[in-house]
Symmetry: D2
Subunit: 299 residues, 4 copies
């Protein structure tokens, strides 16, 4: 087993719906194909961008299988399988493994704030039922619980838990993680506006929905870091900063779908209660994308 | 249709599980019976205390039906039917109405932060599919979105939405609500440590899990307010303050189940990842309950 | 020594300046006289409302002496003597005692966040140099440090420290204080929008600048509480709620001075960088005061 | 006039006191000399580290003059002259200019939260009375007001205001500043744990007290950035991270003075109510400094 199968830019597809609010698998596959061919280093369906918590079991399974079929081993896949209950998390993790996922991502979703012991038992229960690696995902804003570095350290003692995705948006947390957990810890950044800082801090990868819209810039940032060229990385980062800020401020599913529409790819519809961006917001996104277009070949 | 069918103390039962993590309907009915006979003015299954988001559809339906059978019209019932998607919220609201619920409670659950327009459409869609009243529930801590007084005003324009439950824990919000929405607005307090302040501010009722443990004190507080006897209300409130603080700090399902065990009623088990209180916490709860026992006949 | 010389409504005068930004002592005395004759139970110069931190030593001393002359023993006085350094706090506390103040109020001002031990030593050093009582004032928003109930308990062990003023704006804190410190603790509320809740919770008094504008309503609220008439207290509280909210939102010195101008008393000018309310804000205040005027005789 | 006279590492000396709590000018000069000779690119007396707000006028003036005498033009100087009132800020700014300061630093101190207009008028009033450049300093934690990028933009329109020091500790704010204010804006980082991220984001300099303890590492970090060697910068940053975190967590004056004692330089005493670190904290600092010592020659 390759314990840390990811590095670089891990792209998060949306989940498009048709007019009856059913998943549009055909459009989904087209979107995934585009992410692979534009150079993303990994594909992560059923993340927050993919509105996983809003899907029923059949929809999750269809999206998982469609991803495997379309990616077809060209890059590794990371499937979101988080659920409020341990039982359902195990269920989806096992499904993902069987379907061929390279790894699964798990955030400790919590309606009731979980204790550290409850979280450890939760990961442990899932890990014991699968043999692919787990990325532990910390995002207090969506998950409702903030896993401390001490807790993450405990999770990393579970053999399958080999990667951490940090989305607190606090760069100091990443520094602290690295000092506490050691230089070898595989941590991934999940906060788009922190992309430059996180790579500077030593992040192994960037989990992001933005390759749906600006794959060249995302990958160029990672390449500049690999070349140890900070000045170039800085330049490339600032070219995409307005977009990264916009998609986070307006919500990833809404923003990415609107952007895909603007780019002619097609973003697909929504599942209620989620609705599209307003006309004004779409116009703002259009002007950000146009400004990037005109700048993008200058670096 | 009675548009505001509640006042006073609305009691929230837990959902007990057996050793296989299946709902223990028999114990649940016993717990509900106790809430009714000790004088609660309404029964609210499938709330946060009832760990509704952790239950599957069959479990939610079984709990709803068991409540109706046991309460048997002695007091009004308020069934929690919230769900991330509009489709499932409609489904559960219709089930509750058909089963005989007096009203339903809906919090706009949000993994992705909903806009005001999305929230209004969500309530509107549900309201148009049922004919019993809706209590709109604001609790940023568990629901992830804080509905402003302006938004609540919009919701109250939907004919079925006739009640508001406020759980921000901020008394100033209640004052503001009452000034903005008018003296006739039916607002209910969902923050236990705010019970005295909320009644002082004019709350029509108190949504609380504490009648599982100290029904006499909860109801005595309401009675003192009805008698316009602030000094007595204050005295009664401080007798129960330590308990109210404890159950909120430690989590309602864990605390109430431990308390029911201590009282000999039986609290039932948990669904993973949720686990019981620790031994130390149970001992602390025991001493709080014992102190109340010794004081309770003094007011 | 009367150890707790205050109860009821403690009124905070502003400090008016002339066109050269010098204190206008004559106008100040007129404002203080009005506070005494309209029934406030105590007068507290050099509070936040009196912009104490913006005054130099000579100005503070002139304001202190003017207060003593004007009040002339008709009600007790509470002089603000807080300072970043212990040395200057002692200096001003001794000046106040010599001038005839009934008590002094001290907030642990902190540019650098003080430790609990530093705060205790600070109060202890001042207390040992004067013989009048000290009101310890907790207001994280202006003082920069939030004194825990445990710390306040330590402060109350210093013989001179006999009163607590709580301005966190969190009613749960007041409940907790009373449970932790005992029913006999003399705690005063410093958060205007919390006036009703704080009295309901057992506060002995209300430290407020609002008697500059609506003394009858402030005192009527206290009287209703004394009469144990919660319904009346609630009615009177909601009449003044909009004003209490406004003066806190816009800043007490600005709002009170504008209000005094509107009432024809004269509020006086400001010391830079502080400036008056904008025209729009003054118009909003005017309409709030007018609405109160028309309602005020109805309770 | 050189409008942006700083870049690189700007070192903040402490203000040492003797046993009678008087400023120890002789020790202060020794500390400043050490900062200059170990390579700092600028010296900034009377900052937060220098406990400026706790000093009286005479003490501030003595510290300003001692700095000028000791630095003697070898590097530029940046003198803190902030005050609650505009009048005193002008006074100290003029004193600093006359004494020979290269520039002054001004934070809008606020007991009462200032409006944007009040802040602009404040800076404008000071700027019009001096002819040296002003660094506008944003630090909500100590100053009590958070200046938005829009407000900073307005301040930069005042001719003398040519530099910004950002200490919110939020790297996204720096990115936003640079996008909003243009690549040419001279912004300085004032948050120690953000040193690497801020340089990566394009900060022109780092305002820090840490050169009192680890000047080689601080300057090496800046040099690596100048060499566009991110990997080296990262390595050097992590060597000093524990110390940067410690001095911020424990308070700069306390930590730096303890560190200077440990290094044999002598930190000097405190002015009450500020007190030294505890024994345990000093031991922790000692072990952090020792760990750095043993690592420092490895990069």
């Amino acid at each position: 087993m390759n314990k840390v199968p990811f590095k670089g830019v891990i792209a998060y597809p949306v989940t498009p719906f048709d007019d009856n609010e059913n998943v549009d698998i055909s459009l989904f596959k087209k979107q995934v194909e585009r992410l692979v061919t534009t150079g993303s280093h990994g594909i992560a369906p059923l993340g927050s961008t993919g509105v996983m918590p809003y899907l029923n079991d059949a929809e999750k399974e269809a999206v998982t299988e469609a991803t495997m079929q379309q990616v077809a081993g060209r890059v590794p896949t990371l499937v979101g399988v988080s659920n409020l209950t341990t039982e359902k998390t195990v269920y989806h993790a096992q499904f993902a493994e069987k379907a061929g996922a390279t790894a699964v991502m798990i955030i400790p979703m919590s309606y009731w704030k979980l204790t550290d012991d409850e979280i450890v038992k939760h990961y442990d229960a899932v890990a014991s039922k699968i043999s692919i690696p787990i990325m532990a995902y910390n995002n207090p804003a969506t998950g409702g619980v903030d896993m401390s570095p001490a807790l993450l350290k405990r999770l990393l003692e579970i053999p399958n838990v080999t990667m951490i995705k940090e989305s607190t948006g606090d760069i100091q947390r990443m520094h602290y993680l690295r000092r506490e957990l050691g230089e070898e810890v595989a941590f991934f950044n999940g906060s788009n506006p922190l992309a430059l800082s996180a790579f500077s801090a030593g992040a192994r990868g960037w989990c992001t929905a933005s390759p749906n819209l600006i794959p060249e810039l995302n990958i160029a940032l990672y390449d500049a870091i690999q070349e140890n060229d900070l000045e170039k990385a800085q330049r490339i980062f600032y070219k995409q900063f307005d977009l990264l800020k916009f998609i986070v401020a307006k919500g990833l599913p809404r923003s990415i779908k609107a952007g895909l529409d603007l780019l002619g790819v097609g973003g697909g519809g929504f599942k209620s209660p989620l609705k599209p961006l307003s006309e004004n917001e779409i116009a703002e996104l259009d002007s950000i994308l146009s400004a990037i277009e005109s700048e993008v070949y200058q670096y």
